[in-house]
């Protein structure tokens, strides 16, 4: 007895693919969740995802979270409000982790995660003076005094 469409049968096991992090850990993710990554989607389309997919630029710690994100966002019937709250929780992490989320989302081409993480960084920049930005992001001002003076003239209006 065969059903015409295997995806409509509830007893059919979900299709999974395996991802392998840079430090050798493997993670299983439902194909449906993996489709949120354009990179993984094209691999699935070209039948390259039947063996573990090596991801040499993503560590196990980050990959675990990325899988968690994609799985959550592939859930049906989640209401927008609670998903937003979940997202906010997801990006309440230290800077190195947030930075790694951005690089991972960029590499795997997950637009929703990339936007979420970038918006989070943008929120940290909003309303801050350059000095505060230096402190928060631990970056050095690399301008010469003359350049600083010219910048001040150009952007002074924004500090009113």
């Amino acid at each position: 007895m065969s059903s015409s469409s295997s995806s409509s049968s509830p007893s059919c096991p979900k299709k999974m693919i395996t991802l392998k992090s840079s430090d050798g850990e493997t993670f299983e993710i439902e194909e449906i969740a993996a489709l949120q990554s354009k990179t993984l989607e094209s691999m699935i389309d070209e039948n390259c995802a039947s063996t573990p997919v090596p991801l040499p630029n993503i560590t196990g710690k980050i990959l675990a979270k990325v899988v968690e994100y994609c799985t959550k966002h592939a859930e049906v019937g989640a209401d927008a409000e609670s998903l937003r709250a979940w997202d906010a929780e997801f990006v309440s992490v230290d800077h190195p982790t947030l930075f790694d989320y951005i690089l991972a989302a960029n590499f795997l081409e997950i637009p929703t995660l990339l936007n979420l993480a970038c918006q989070s960084v943008a929120d940290m920049v909003k309303g801050k003076t350059p000095d505060e930005i230096h402190k928060i992001f631990n970056i050095k001002s690399t301008f010469t005094p003359e350049e600083e003076e010219e910048l001040r003239r150009e952007n002074q209006w924004a500090f009113d």
Partner: protein, 372 residues
């Protein structure tokens, strides 16, 4: 760590920043500065909603050291120095890419230029083929060519009084167009002299382009509209609702349609949209209390001006008089009326109340590349 973000990702982060935050981020370090200035703020619809346009005003009839801009996100006024302008100017219209078309006011002969008050860039357009004073000016945006970093546009100049030695004092019947791609003026067509007269004497500079027709409002006692069809070089006239009762009238483009904004004596300010068959339909009226607030102690609407673009319409008078704003709240799916306080002081220093001329501009902190 953050120093090493690839430029395209940093640019994505910056795309979430409003203009004043971006200006601060630009000042953080060289890498961020390069990114912020190289990243051209797109005028695509998604970003337009995220970043509504700013109200940019220049005092008229006086040489001002600053232009005054209103930030819609923070409801704050800022003063931007315009000491980089070689001449006093009057704003005409934004042309995309953060640039404004304006004309020099230290000469009666029509001399146009482009400027971006945020990047402090200024560029004069070449002289017209036929020198004239007080013509009507119209702008048409063109689809940008591939890989172009400056917006593509055409400027149309019609009518005016001739400044040529032999024909000085006569009305100029030619219409010329400037092409930003080829950077030169071309005489396009002639028009009937009576149109040239109306476009010279009764027409302020602003025009609206809709569906390939350039429209100008002319105010010869009763208001009327002149339309120039670009593809066919044909002129026609449009009547205006309440034409002889309007105390001020302005044309704007809203929703892709020609929209007329005008105020009647003792009444409100109304907006009409031009629909099929050249029929005007009333779209909206200012709420009574906001209209009265804008009028202040004035008896009539005469000195009121209007600027509008998709999603926002502003009624204003002087720098300090405040504005009535009608804005589309996309997340609420409707339009709302606001009052915006005028600019009376910046950084604690009192600002004189000038009459102003304004445009709505999407600020661009990335310099345009003008070919030499």
């Amino acid at each position: 760590m953050w120093n090493n973000l690839p430029l395209d990702i940093l640019a994505k982060i910056f795309s979430f920043l409003s203009t004043e935050s971006l200006a601060r981020a630009n000042s953080a370090c060289r890498h961020w500065h390069r990114c912020g200035r190289g990243y051209l703020l797109s005028t695509g619809s998604a970003l337009t909603w995220k970043h509504p346009p700013w109200f940019v005003a220049v005092p008229i009839r006086s040489l001002s050291a600053c232009c005054y801009v209103h930030n819609p996100n923070s409801d704050n006024w800022h003063a931007l120095p315009i000491d980089f302008l070689p001449d006093p100017v009057r704003l005409i219209s934004p042309i995309g890419g953060g640039l404004i078309l304006l004309r020099s006011t230290n000469t009666t002969v029509h001399q146009l230029a482009l400027c971006n008050p945020f990047t402090r860039q200024y560029k004069r357009l070449p002289k017209l083929n036929i020198s004239r004073t007080n013509p009507a000016t119209g702008i048409v945006m063109l689809d940008p060519s591939r890989g172009a970093s400056a917006p593509a546009f055409r400027v149309y100049v019609a009518g005016g009084m001739s400044d040529a030695p032999r024909s000085c004092g006569t009305y100029e019947s030619t219409l010329e167009a400037y092409d930003s791609v080829h950077e030169r003026w071309r005489i396009i067509t002639l028009m009937p002299v009576e149109f040239a007269v109306r476009l010279t004497v009764w027409t302020p500079n602003e025009s609206v382009c809709c569906d390939g027709v350039l429209y100008w409002m002319t105010s010869a006692r009763a208001y009327s509209i002149m339309g120039f069809e670009i593809g066919t070089n044909k002129w026609h006239e449009l009547s205006v609702p309440l034409a002889d009762r309007l105390e001020f009238a302005a044309l704007i483009r809203q929703n892709g349609r020609l929209t007329l904004v005008g105020g009647t004596c003792g009444g409100a300010v109304s907006m009409w949209e031009l629909g099929e068959g050249e029929v005007w339909s009333l779209v909206e009226e200012t709420p009574c209390e906001l209209g009265l607030k804008l009028l202040g102690r004035k008896a009539n609407w005469g000195s009121t001006k209007c600027v509008g673009t998709d999603g926002v319409i502003c009624l204003y008078r002087d720098l300090g008089s405040g504005m009535v704003v009608w804005r589309e709240m996309k997340d609420k799916g409707r339009w709302e009326w606001f009052w915006v306080e005028g600019c009376c002081s910046v950084r604690g220093k009192k600002v004189q109340n000038f009459p102003i001329r304004a445009v709505l501009l999407h600020p661009n902190l990335a310099p345009s590349h003008f070919p030499d």
